[in-house]
Structure formats: structure tokens, C-alpha cells
Amino acid sequence: MDLSAINPVQLIAFLMVAATPVLLAAIGELVVEKSGVLNLGVEGMMITGAIAGFAATVETGSPTIGFIAAAVAGALLSCLFVVLTQFALANQVASGLALTLFGLGLSALLGQSYVGVKPPATAKIDIPVLTDLPVIGPILFNHDLMVYFGIALVAATWAVLKYSRAGLVLRAVGESHDAAHALGYKVVRIRILAILFGGACAGLGGAYISLIRVPQWTEGMTAGIGWIALALVVFASWKPWRALLGAYLFGGVTVVQLNLQAAGVAIPVEYLAMSPYLITIVVLVILSADKSSAPAALGRAFHASR
């Protein structure tokens, strides 16, 4: 056992990378739930985004096109959820579970010929001087663009929800769709847009795993991160910054346990592997004393009758 091999600077840098997939998926789902829709299909949309992004990148050689394809694929899959829950008024929980199962199967099918293929590397930013700074350089200024995009998305979501009229209407729809409808807001249209946004974000998160975090394609490679994203939204009390905190905690524990595994600590690998899930949930449960902030209309179907 050699703990001195663990480099704290690298640890923090890796933490941000490890946290990005769950962060992207969580922020998308947060917007969906704020609009009053519970989409349990995050895992399915993530894995679909993972294979779509992977395939597009391998075929075109451009990770940018890959990420765009992933977002589109995630949004497309969420269209299925839209049709089921917003038009057919199906149960949201069942529809979400179906979406996850469907996404897992679909991605396995699409990915058969990509197993073992290596995708082109995604470029990291390199700012002269800043990137070369000791400690701060590797932590803050030596990542791929998606890491910054994730953080910017959290900030943007927070600002839009808090300060903009669009955010206010979105929150209103999630609070009481009947009242919003009575005031003349298009409840279904707003929810569809939110669901598509959530799908795109989940797709991006999935592609981040297959293109940067791992980078390769294996069946079921999202390994429950979509479910962690869902839990994160609830335990973060639907607050964007708290979701970021939770994602970093998850990423941090993941990186630490990987390092501990590598260092040969005498704890069975299975325990180490489950620790990120366990610790994230325990900490967030403790943090989430105020559950009052749940959108009041969450998970309820809306139909403009009468």
C-alpha cells in the first residue's frame, strides 16, 4: 500500500472530470422537474447519448460533432417520453422506467460494432501562462471545454430560474399547472421544451463518459450514473448550485476510491466501488432537510379539460 502515490492536485483535477457527466444529467433533470415532470429515463437517455456521441465522433473524427449528436440523440429519445406522458397522458414513472430500459437496449444494439474502438481524443484547453501555473493550472485551466460548459450551464440555469420571466413561468407550471393554464400559459408546450432540454443534457453527460472519461464503448457503461443524477436533484432540493456540490462530492469520492484501489488498500474492491454512491446519497440526505421546495405539481399529468 502506497498512499504517497496519490497526488492531491491531480485528484482535484480528476474530480471535476469525474463529476461532469452526473452534473450535466442532473442539471437537465432539475429543469425537467422544475416544470413539474418526473422523467426517470435519465439513465436511458445518457447511454443513448453515449453511443450516439461515440459513433458520431468515430465516424467523423470530430468530438464536437459527437457531442452535438449526443445532445440530439438524448432529446430524440426524450421525445418518446413526451409522446407518452404529455399526449397519451401515461404514468410518468412507468414511462420513465420504460425509457431507461429502451435506451439501454437500443444503445447495446447500436454499439455492437464499436466495442474496442478507440475514439479520437478531445482537446483540452491550453492557455499560455495560466495552464502552466503550479497547482491552480492543472486544477482550473487544463480541462476539456465540456467541464467549463457544465459549470456555465449550472450558473445559467440558476440565473434563468431565478431572474428571468421564462424561468418564472417554468416554475409556475411546475407549481400548479391548473393555475398556469388559467392564466393562459401553454403548460404542455413549456413542459415539452423542458423535457427536450433534459434529454439533451443527459445525452451530453453520456457522451462525456464514452468520449472523455473512459474513453471507449462498453455496454451499460453509464453504470447507474443517471440514477445518481436523479437522486442528486431531489437531495439538492431542486437548487442548481447544490446539485453542483453533490456532483463534485460524487466525483471526488469516485476519484479517491479509484486511487485507493490503485494504491492497493486492503478494502475489498466492491466496497470501494460502491462508496461514491453510498456517500453521496448519505450526505445529500443529511443536507436536504427542507424538502418543501419540491415542485408541487411534480409527476402529475395535466390535461386542459374544460
Binding site: L168, A182, G184
Partner: protein, 505 residues
């Protein structure tokens, strides 16, 4: 009469199986307070929804200020100066006052300016409000202020108010009326929907009466008696429930110093509630909705347990007993919400009868259901309470509100309770059915049962109860005999104006 602001011509709207409005025509004058009268289901709500653009009429037309008017959506109606205060408030609990108001405006100014305007308009009309409080924390009267101010900020020409006083104490109603009179004096027309006839007599200039979707007459409320208006609404002579002289027996059920924490964030805690009801007595419990009515019913029915000695039945502690055990002892309850609380919507009437009746009617033996007896019990309820349905096999959801309410009340009454607790027994029920339900409660008491009737309909409570107490923020006032109780006294028992500042207009 003043100039015509809005003229309705032959408005018709049909839903599958029911014509909600059938060629309704009338005019609303400028600066006129126009009452729209009618029973539940007479088509009042559908009519105003057409004016407000929420529902499109099948045929007919409207003329606003000499121009054709047919709003495609509420946005268009608001742009034309039509504003509406909803019956069930269209507010968002988790958002603050200013955000709620911004949601109802086309082009809201930035938050800070909006807050300033809310302050000035609300004080101008004698309805003070803090723009940054969460709406979930406001009282019913204050919530209504939010809605009214949301409308006033757009300088409406016509203000539609759908049952605005059903959630207010008499004192709060007076504050509201002063505001409405001020609006009227400034030339705003008001379309006022209500079935409270005395209010209409004191406020409105003109009344149109709807029955089964048709305009069946008009009157000047000041010159028409409440009874005449009521008979125009119902279309028949009203039968007032008969109330025999009753002698109160020994104490049947009592609660002593009971406090229960609020069940949810926007629920109400019960604070030091003390209550006694005798055999043969009807105890009426009034109060504005959301002041602890549901919580009190849960404590009595056994849905919420408390310390054993806090609820006593014939002197025995039953506070720790669940609803089934209490039913066995004769304590029955019919909660307010018909679909989902009092009845399971998608189950048949037989199944619903079984759900509360199995203990007392012996509908099951050793865990096996006796379906023929259950069906017989359901049929007895249907026959005894004139429930209009093809048969006991129909789902509870398929019944109209009034019919289901008759079933829900009848199901408990026929189980021969010692103590019956009902919440809003006639809510949303037409006048004839309401009279039948009240008569059933009176008959039950005459047979020696103790009845606790929780209701927001003060007239109903005055009509049937021997003693009256009011719930206000989870506290129960001391009961008073209903003999000689005045509206003012009742209002004060209900918490007066809830500390709301009186309008200075």
C-alpha cells in the same frame, strides 16, 4: 341605465352529454355591478370562461364597446380590459406575491418597479400587501387581495369575480365590498358570480339568473327578496328542512385540550382544541377553509392518532384507536373531498359501500367479502338517499358531485352511528339535494345520535345546528347556542378580519 360595455348574444356551449350554456344573452353596463346567479352546474363558470377566453363558445357572439369580441385566449381578453378573479385561486403557493402578480401580466415591469406599483395600488384601494411574502403563508383573504391587485394593475374595464366571498369571514367581505364600490365609482364594471343572495342584494345593481344553462330571468336584487331569487334559481318552491324540538342527552364525545402539529408545510396545527357534543345534538363548526377543518376531522375519524385520553367516547379513551376500531364503536366520518378521500373514484359504489360499511354492516366474515350483502347495502343507500345512478356497479367517478355526496353521507347515516362527523356535507350540491342531506342529519340527531357538522356555509350551520363554534388558525372558539347568534358575532368568532387592515376608501 348606463351605456352597455359588454353584450352577450346567444352564447351556446355544449360538452358531451350536457349543454352548459344554451343561448344565453344579456348586457353589462359601464360601471354596473352585475350579478350572475345560479346553482352549481347552472353554467355560470362556463359562461365567464367564455368571456375570459378560456373556453370557446360553439355559437353566439359578444360585443365589447360596439366592437365584436371573441378572445382566443385569456391573453387576448386581458388585452381588451377583461380581468378575472378565480373561484379557486389561481395562485402559486411557493412563489411570492410579486412573482404571482407578474405571471398574470402581459409585460411586467422589472421586479423592483412592480413591487413599488403593487404597494401603491394596494394601498390606494385599501388592500395592503407585502410584495415579497410567499403566497403559501397568506390567509385566504390576503390571497384574494393578490388576485384582485393582479387584475387592478391592468386597469380593467370589466372585473369578473367568481364566488369571491366563499372563503371570507363577514368582516373580510365588508372590506372587499368597499373596494368593489370604489371601483364601481371609478367606472369599472363588475360581473359578480355568487349564490349568496343577501350579498348580491347589498352589492349588485342587476342580476341575471341561470338555470340548467339557460337565462331564466333577470331582476333588480335590491327590490327582490332572497327567497324569490332562490326560487328563480331552483325553478321550484324551496322546502326548508324541518327541525323538531330536540332534547340533548348525555355527552357522547368530547375532546380535551388537544394539540396536533401541522401534517404538512401548508397545513394547519390544531391548538388546544376542546369540544363536547351530546347525544341528539348537532354541533356546527364554521370557519374559513384551511383553518384546521381537515385536521379536526382526521383527529375525530382516527386517521390521526393522539394521546388516548384526548378523545373520549362516552367517557372511554379512544385517542389511540384507528378508524376501523372507532367505526366499530359507532364513530363515523364523511370527509370533505368526495373523490379520493370519501370515496375511491374508480371503484364501484358497492366496493365503496363496503370500504366503510364492512365493520358495522357485517359485510365480511373471516376476511372473506360477502358481496351480495355489500351490494344490498349499496342499494339501500342508493334508494334511501335518492342517488341517481344506473346501479351499484357504477364507478364512484361516474356520479355527479351532488349524487356522490348523497351517497357518501347516506352510507354513513345508514350505518346508524352514535357520533357522525361530516365536513362540508353539501359542498357543490344543488339546493334540493342539500336540503335532503340536511334533513337526514337532523333526523339522525332526532334519533339520538351526536352530529358534528363542519362547514363553511354559515347559513347551513345556522339552519341545522344547536350550537356553533368556529375554527380559526387551528383554535376552536367556545361553542355558543345558535339561538340569537348574529352574523357579526359569528364573524368575530371566525377571527374577524384576521388582522387585515380595514379599507380606507
Amino acid at each position: 341605465m348606463s351605456d352597455v360595455l359588454l353584450s352577450l348574444k346567444g352564447l351556446t356551449k355544449a360538452y358531451p352529454g350536457v349543454v352548459a350554456n344554451d343561448h344565453v344573452s344579456f348586457d353589462i353596463g359601464v360601471g354596473e355591478v352585475h350579478a350572475l346567479l345560479g346553482e352549481n352546474g347552472a353554467g355560470k363558470s362556463t359562461l365567464v370562461k367564455m368571456i375570459y377566453g378560456l373556453v370557446k363558445p360553439d355559437s353566439g357572439e359578444m360585443v365589447l364597446n360596439d366592437a365584436p369580441y371573441m378572445p382566443a385566449e385569456p391573453r387576448a381578453a386581458r388585452a381588451d380590459g377583461i380581468a378575472m378573479v378565480f373561484q379557486h385561486f389561481s395562485l402559486f403557493d411557493a412563489l411570492n406575491v410579486a412573482e404571482n402578480i407578474a405571471l398574470g401580466m402581459e409585460n411586467p415591469p422589472p421586479m423592483r418597479d412592480l413591487a413599488q406599483r403593487i404597494k401603491s395600488v394596494s394601498e390606494n384601494y385599501g388592500l395592503p400587501l407585502d410584495p415579497f411574502r410567499a403566497v403559501g403563508d397568506l390567509s385566504a383573504g390576503e390571497r384574494q387581495r393578490v388576485e384582485i391587485i393582479r387584475c387592478l394593475l391592468q386597469d380593467p374595464k370589466l372585473l369578473i369575480m367568481d364566488e369571491p366571498t366563499s372563503v371570507l369571514t363577514p368582516q373580510e367581505v365588508e372590506i372587499l365590498f368597499q373596494t368593489l364600490r370604489k371601483l364601481k365609482s371609478e367606472g369599472t364594471s363588475i360581473l359578480y358570480i355568487s349564490h349568496k343572495l343577501e350579498e348580491i342584494r347589498s352589492l349588485c345593481d342587476f342580476a341575471t339568473i341561470l338555470r340548467l344553462g339557460q337565462n331564466v330571468g333577470a331582476c333588480v336584487p335590491r327590490d327582490t327578496s332572497a327567497r324569490d331569487m332562490a326560487e328563480m334559481m331552483v325553478g321550484a318552491a324551496l322546502k326548508t328542512p324541518e327541525r323538531g324540538g330536540r332534547d340533548l342527552g348525555p355527552v357522547a364525545l368530547s375532546i380535551r385540550g388537544l394539540s396536533v402539529p401541522a401534517p404538512s408545510a401548508f397545513g394547519t396545527a390544531l391548538k388546544d382544541v376542546t369540544l363536547t357534543v351530546h347525544k341528539g345534538e348537532i354541533l356546527g363548526i364554521g370557519g374559513v377553509a384551511g383553518n384546521g377543518q381537515d385536521e379536526l376531522l382526521s383527529v375525530l375519524s382516527g386517521e390521526v392518532l393522539c394521546a388516548p385520553g384526548e378523545v373520549l367516547l362516552h367517557g372511554d379513551a379512544i385517542g389511540q384507536m384507528n378508524p376501523t376500531k372507532r367505526r366499530k364503536l359507532g364513530v363515523l366520518a364523511a370527509p370533505e373531498e368526495r373523490l379520493g378521500h370519501a370515496a375511491a373514484p374508480d371503484m364501484s359504489l358497492t366496493e365503496n359501500a363496503l370500504l366503510t360499511g364492512s365493520v358495522r354492516q357485517g359485510l365480511e366474515t373471516r376476511g372473506m367479502i360477502n358481496w351480495s350483502r355489500a351490494k344490498g347495502f349499496a342499494e339501500a343507500v342508493i334508494a334511501g338517499f335518492d342517488v341517481r345512478t344506473p346501479g351499484p356497479g357504477n364507478a364512484a367517478r361516474s356520479l355527479s358531485g351532488g349524487n356522490l355526496q348523497k351517497f357518501v353521507i347516506g352510507r354513513e347515516v345508514l350505518q346508524d352511528p352514535d357520533v357522525l362527523v361530516v365536513n362540508q356535507p353539501t359542498w357543490g350540491v344543488d339546493a334540493a339535494a342539500a336540503a335532503a342531506i340536511r334533513q337526514a342529519l337532523l333526523d339522525l340527531a332526532a334519533k339520538g345520535a351526536a352530529v358534528i357538522c363542519i362547514s363553511q356555509d354559515l347559513d347551513e350551520l345556522m339552519e341545522i345546528s344547536d350550537n356553533f363554534a368556529a375554527l380559526n388558525e387551528g383554535r376552536l372558539s367556545n361553542p355558543r347556542s345558535t339561538q340569537g347568534l348574529t352574523v357579526d358575532e359569528i364573524g368575530l368568532m371566525m377571527g374577524g378580519a384576521h388582522g387585515m387592515e380595514v379599507a380606507h376608501v
